[in-house]
């Protein structure tokens, strides 16, 4: 019999107010008529209009999406491979170094990752631009992917794969037909994580981007350093909206699958 005491209700209410109120204010004031962000002067959507006609933002958004899609896709492939190596490959020369390199970027301060990659690109004479940002983002997000996927692989029942081999699959077929479908949800969430990290990244991108490529966070950064602006509020609202819709759709889909599965199981029980 669990009762929610007043203490628990209060902590949940205050906690979630703290987490969500700032974003809520951001959204509300994006519909503010006034140029002064903190003074309410009536409802208006004009900042959205200005934002959508501002080529600098649109270009930056396009670059960001390109970088995020490409880097998270490569990172998912490499990260899944790395996870398989970590969990399945057994011992090999330099295994400790390998797992160290997988985990280190997760705790490495972004300024250091950015700095070191920049020095590398300068050292080998690579021109900085979209390509270098993709390389940088792939490198750190593959580590996140491999952590997510290896957590799933660790609990994976190996006898399933052995059953596939027993039934005549080649190792590659067994992986493609049995292992991959089962770990697929973790691979997908790995991709989503990599995608979000790439969309979100400011520090590493500002080290590795050249003058030719500006991502959205870099563009946002240069304008918010000076102060708050209603245009940025509008942009934030759009981004928050996209995430919220994405998360709600994802949770509805998973709930739907769960209910479906439950219904199937019940039907099976009735015979």
């Amino acid at each position: 019999m669990i009762r929610l005491s007043w203490f628990n209700v209060t902590s949940l209410t205050l906690g979630f107010a703290f987490l969500y109120l700032p974003m809520l204010l951001l959204i509300v004031y994006s519909f503010n008529e006034s140029k002064l962000v903190t003074v309410w002067a009536g409802f208006s959507t004009k900042w959205y209009g200005e934002l959508l006609t501002n080529d600098a933002y649109l270009d930056a958004a396009w670059v960001t999406i390109q970088v995020a899609v490409i880097s998270s896709t490569i990172a998912t492939v490499l990260g899944t491979m790395a996870a398989l190596v970590l969990i399945r490959a057994g011992r090999f020369l330099g295994r400790t170094l390998f797992s160290g390199m997988i985990y280190a970027p997760l705790v490495m301060p972004e300024v250091i990752t950015g700095l070191s990659l920049l020095l590398l690109f300068i050292g080998i004479g690579l021109d900085r631009g979209v390509f270098t940002i993709i390389l940088a983002h792939t490198t750190f997000s593959m580590c996140y992917v491999s952590v997510v996927v290896s957590a799933r692989l660790m609990s994976f029942d190996k006898s399933l794969e052995e059953a596939a081999l027993d039934l005549g699959c080649s190792p590659l077929q067994a992986f493609r037909l049995v292992t991959l479908p089962i770990i697929a949800p973790s691979v997908i969430s790995g991709w989503l994580l990599a995608f979000t990290l790439s969309l979100d990244d400011l520090v590493i991108a500002s080290f590795t981007a050249g003058p030719s490529a500006t991502t959205l966070p870099i563009k946002v950064w240069s304008s918010i350093r000076l102060g708050v602006s209603p245009e940025i509020n509008a942009l934030s609202t759009i981004l928050i909206g996209i995430v919220a819709v994405g998360v709600i759709v994802a949770s509805l889909i998973s709930k739907h699958t769960m209910l479906r599965q439950l219904a199937d199981e019940n039907a099976a029980k009735r015979g």
């Binding site: 204010l25 903190t38 490499l78 300024v111 050292g123 490198t139 940025i232 928050i240």
Partner: protein, 296 residues
Amino acid sequence: MRRALLIVVPYLWLLALFLVPFVIVLKIALSDYNLSIPPYSPQYDPSSGWQGLRDMFAAFDFENFVFLTEDDLYWKAYLSSLQIALISTLLSLLVGYPIAYAMARAPEQWRPTLMMLVILPFWTSFLIRVYAWKGILSTEGYLNQLLLGLGAIEQPLTILNTDTAVYIGIVYTYLPFMILPIYAALDKMDGSLLEAAEDLGCSRLSAFWLVTVPLSRNGIIAGSFLVFIPAVGEFVIPALLGGSDTLMIGKVLYEEFFNNRDWPVASAVAVILLLILVIPIVLFQRNQQKQRELDG
């Protein structure tokens, strides 16, 4: 053969784009600042072969590191980063523990939703979430408007561009990292342990201190490291919310590199920062390892 390919591809990628860059940082940290392009010496010229390599090593020195200890800007920045990170971690714990506790005590069917609500901010842009506080904390901001309106204060408070704003920013940004491991520990806890404690004579409160807190210890430790480690090297939050006197090493490094173009000193700053972080990272790894052994 296939196994070798599986290992080699991610291995080479990480070697080339993680380890090699880091070796370069180390090399530049040991070099001298120069008004050339790139702005440091010695440079390695592959055509000079063995001898060139030896000359390069001979020219290495710890001058930059010595410089870091002499100029009090740097060691003050390190200390103040650690201090800010530590205070923010404690604040996150104070704010996060009650939330995690209430989540673990909430009815079973609410918990996935509450979890999602904690994780959701993580998916929205970090930059935007920090930026949102600029509007709240500034002198004309929403907080001051509210407090003035309520008559709680006469003069607007100066919070933006102070260390307080940095604390708020870090707590706000990293709170989910604190809540989730503590929640996981509390959620896993066997309810009969609390009943056993009560049965053996504990009051509710003493059962909390003697059983709940020790059993969520690993969650507390994990959460604290997850907040502390990134907070030490944080750049965006002090740059956006902190004042000109807010010293954090991430900011110093960024400015050293982009504004002063002193690559060797920036690299040395990075190397020292990493050495400082090695201690908490190793401790964190140990804690995780121990946790896994207990679970396994």
